[in-house]
Every structure is written in structure tokens, then in C-alpha cells.
């Protein structure tokens, strides 16, 4: 994945992210956020996480952004024209952001783990076929591996259902509670308050 592309996608993600933060009109912010998520998905792809990249676009850029737009339209939120800038909040926000970035950069710079590149961590797909324990029994995974391609979705599915079965059920429950919550919250009070 040539470095140029990486910088391009990073620029897209951060640029639109900045637009989200500074945008006046909520709609532009929402769209900028969607674009930022697309850039992010591209970065996932560059990290050979194809399934996660697709999920990112599907869930975030698709569902969440649509939900935001829907709410903006529903509540007809006008652009904040002319509201006086809450200067102290902006200043403290920017200050904190800069401080955090510097700190992360310093931390990252100081550890040699971060200096590993994708070349010196090549994916040894063929030998992996024999070493992945229980997964080796599944022909679909071993055949792709031997064919030199990365069965990304299958491997995630195997990991999820093999090791994190219980966690999935909890997430399922969480989603259920979330939806019931939404219904209760947005039900219009029959009796006038």
C-alpha cells in the first residue's frame, strides 16, 4: 500500500474531521463526518482489515450518519448563525486537543514497537494454515490460506463465535435494550405534561 495513498486517506479523515468540528451548518457537519468515516475505512483496508472496513462504512457512514441527518431534519435545527463564540470553551478545547496530540506523539515516538512497518511483519499465510489450531479443521479457511489469500471475514467470524460467544449474546441484549429505550424516550406524552 504505497505511502502516498496512506497520507491521502489520512488527510481525508483528518480534514473532514476538522470540518465536522468547525462546521457551522449541522448538515455539512454530518456529511463531513460521513466522508471522514469513508477515509477511515480506507485506512482499515490498508491494514488488511477488510471486514472491519466494510462494517465501518456500512454501520457508521450508512446507518449512524443517516440517523443524524434524520434527526437534524426532524428537529429542523437551524445553523447557528451569529451566536457569540463561547471563547473560553473553544480556547480550552483547542488547548486540550493540542496537548493530547503532543502527548500521544511523544509516547508513540518513544517506543520502538511503533517503528515496525508492514514489510517487517509480512503475513505468512501458507505456513499459518497448519498453525492456527482448531481453525485448521475448517477446510474453507485452510484452502484460502493455502491459496495465498486472507479469509478475513471467515477468521473474524471464527474468532467471534469460538472465543467470544457469550460476549456476542451480551451485545445482542444491549442492542435490544437500546431499541426499547429509544421507543420509550421518544413516545409523545399522551397526557399533557
Amino acid at each position: 500500500m504505497p505511502p502516498l495513498l496512506f497520507y491521502l486517506f489520512a488527510l481525508i479523515t483528518l480534514g473532514f474531521g476538522f470540518l465536522v468540528v468547525t462546521g457551522r451548518n449541522p448538515v455539512t457537519c454530518a456529511l463531513a463526518l460521513a466522508a471522514s468515516f469513508v477515509g477511515l475505512a480506507a485506512l482499515f483496508l490498508s491494514l488488511d482489515a477488510y471486514f472491519i472496513g466494510v462494517i465501518q462504512i456500512l454501520v457508521y457512514a450508512g446507518a449512524v450518519m443517516v440517523l443524524f441527518l434524520f434527526i437534524i431534519m426532524l428537529l429542523d435545527i437551524k445553523t447557528e448563525e451569529g451566536k457569540k463564540l463561547n471563547l473560553p470553551a473553544i480556547v480550552s478545547g483547542v488547548l486540550l486537543a493540542v496537548l493530547l496530540t503532543l502527548q500521544i506523539a511523544a509516547v508513540v515516538g518513544s517506543t520502538e514497537l511503533a517503528r515496525k512497518t508492514s514489510q517487517d511483519t509480512p503475513l505468512a499465510l501458507t505456513e499459518a494454515a497448519t498453525k492456527i489450531g482448531k481453525a485448521a479443521a475448517l477446510p474453507t479457511i485452510t484452502n484460502d490460506l493455502k491459496a495465498g489469500t486472507l479469509p478475513d471475514a471467515k477468521l473474524i467470524g471464527f474468532t467471534l463465535f469460538d472465543q467470544y460467544g457469550f460476549h456476542l449474546q451480551v451485545i445482542g441484549l444491549l442492542l435490544l435494550v437500546g431499541t426499547i429505550g429509544v421507543v420509550v424516550l421518544s413516545k409523545r406524552e399522551r397526557s399533557a405534561p
Binding site: F18, F44, A49, F51, Q56, Y60, V94, V108, T121, Y164
Partner: protein, 105 residues
């Protein structure tokens, strides 16, 4: 060459952007979007680590499953959050953060 560091720095900057947005912005929806950004920045860092920490020659999929979980939680959270915003808007007719001071001590 692109190293893990690059990805982490990008994720850090994205996270800071999100944090700045949460603090600086007055419109609660924008605050919410920045929150989503902070979550996705975390995902980026996780995916970065899973790619550069190989298990048996393959990327470390436990990290990616965690990313999967965060995405799910984020979705549920957005749903509930927006419902709250709607209820809030109905009672306060404004989405300005200043108006929400019910918890004042």
C-alpha cells in the same frame, strides 16, 4: 515507509479533534458527532495494533473482534443518544449545551 506509529498518530489526532469538538461546540448534535469520531479513532488504533501484532503469521483477530463490539455499542449509543436529544429538544426548544444545566449544584 508507513509504520504503526503513523497510524497511532493519525488515531491520536482524530481523537483530539473529537475531544476539541466535544468541548468547544455548543450544539449538542455536533458534540455527538465528535463523540463518534473519538470512538472510531479508538477503532483505528485497535486495528493498527491487530495488524502489526501477528499471531501464527496472521493479524491478531481478538483486537478486531473488540473493534466489532465497539462499533455495535456505538450504534446502540447513537440511537439512545439521539432519542434523548429529541426528548430534550421537546422540553427545551433548543439544543444548546448552556441550556442544559438542570444538574446545577
Amino acid at each position: 515507509m508507513i509504520t504503526l506509529g503513523h497510524y497511532l498518530v493519525v488515531s491520536g489526532m482524530l481523537f483530539s479533534l473529537g475531544l476539541a469538538g466535544v468541548i468547544a461546540r455548543r450544539n449538542i448534535i455536533i458534540v455527538y458527532m465528535c463523540l463518534e469520531m473519538m470512538l472510531s479513532a479508538a477503532n483505528l488504533a485497535l486495528v493498527g495494533f491487530s495488524r502489526f501484532h501477528l499471531v501464527n503469521g496472521l493479524p491478531d483477530y481478538t483486537a478486531q473482534s473488540l473493534v466489532f463490539f465497539t462499533i455495535t455499542v456505538a450504534a446502540a449509543e447513537v440511537a439512545v443518544g439521539l432519542a434523548i436529544i429529541v426528548a430534550l429538544f421537546r422540553s427545551k426548544q433548543s439544543v444548546d449545551v448552556e441550556s442544559v444545566t438542570k444538574l446545577q449544584g
